[in-house]
């Protein structure tokens, strides 16, 4: 490049910015997309509980008694309810993404239906799981 051209270069113009989350209308598809990432993140943290459970079982009756006491407490039950909902939500969200990956269900009505199916399905399946467990356990799990 010739030196004479260097003087012609002006200060760069302000670059256009990509609009961030806040300007978009909340649609079911948008919310479920965000939920997928959030549930994925909490499942990441939740693996600590999975490891606690497995290590406690592998360690012996005493360690396992501590785990079952914690899991059976009202706080433990609440955490496990959240954990199971998060897992089922992420599972159904993953199936929704798999359908889209096959370039199916992209029509406006279809993608809305898939998003709604994710939340309705995960709430109902979690409810069914817990009702099923509580009924078969005689309302006292653990």
């Amino acid at each position: 490049m010739a030196e004479t051209h260097m003087a012609d270069i002006k200060a760069p113009r302000a670059r256009p910015l990509s609009p961030h989350l806040m300007i978009y209308r909340l649609t079911p598809v948008f919310v479920m997309s965000g939920m997928h990432r959030i549930t994925g993140f909490f499942l990441y943290l939740g693996t600590v509980l999975l490891v606690w459970w497995l290590l406690a079982a592998a360690s012996g009756p005493n360690a396992y008694a501590w785990f079952t006491w914690a899991a059976g407490s009202w706080l433990g039950q609440l955490v496990l309810l959240g954990y199971s909902f998060t897992l089922i939500h992420h599972l159904l969200g993953g199936i929704r993404i798999m359908i889209w990956d096959m370039t199916l269900g992209f029509e406006p009505k279809q993608r809305e239906a898939l998003a709604l199916a994710t939340i309705i399905g995960s709430v109902s399946l979690t409810g069914l799981l817990w009702i099923g467990v509580y009924v078969t356990m005689g309302w006292t799990p653990w």
């Binding site: 693996t47 490891v51 497995l54 290590l55 079982a57 993953g94």
Partner: protein, 130 residues
């Protein structure tokens, strides 16, 4: 329009390495592990439900049986790989400081490997009854 669009492009030299660590292999790895995780997650839920209300001895017997231990090991391996990629994507999206990003990416790998080893060790110990 063409000259306008050109203004939005960023020279390759400035983009290179800035996309974090993702690429086609990351995308594909996430899809494959995600698909495999579907049956394995259902299996894991069934195994958890199977030990609900059981005492320690019965729990060890169930978790240590091949029918539970093998799906559990697969579930741990596949889902840890899946979550390792997942957090990597989140970190490269939201963490902008280069040094902090590197530390968190290493932390992600360390955490994921530790979780996988701990879970697999526990399942194998239950299975072999040492």
């Amino acid at each position: 329009m063409v000259s306008h669009a050109k203004g939005y492009r960023t020279p390759f030299a400035r983009v290179r390495g800035r996309g974090g660590v993702s690429g086609v292999s990351t995308f594909w790895g996430q899809r494959v592990s995600g698909v495999l995780a579907i049956p394995l997650t259902i299996a894991a839920i069934v195994i958890v439900v199977a030990v609900l209300g059981k005492d320690h001895q019965a729990t060890v017997q169930i978790l240590g049986s091949p029918l539970a231990a093998v799906p559990m090991l697969l579930f741990v391996g596949v889902s840890v790989y899946h979550m390792w990629i997942g957090l990597q994507e989140i970190l490269t999206d939201y963490v902008h400081g280069e040094k902090l990003l590197l530390v968190l990416l290493m932390g992600n790998t360390l955490f994921s490997v530790a979780i996988a080893f701990a879970a697999c060790f526990a399942v194998l110990k239950l299975a072999f009854g040492v």
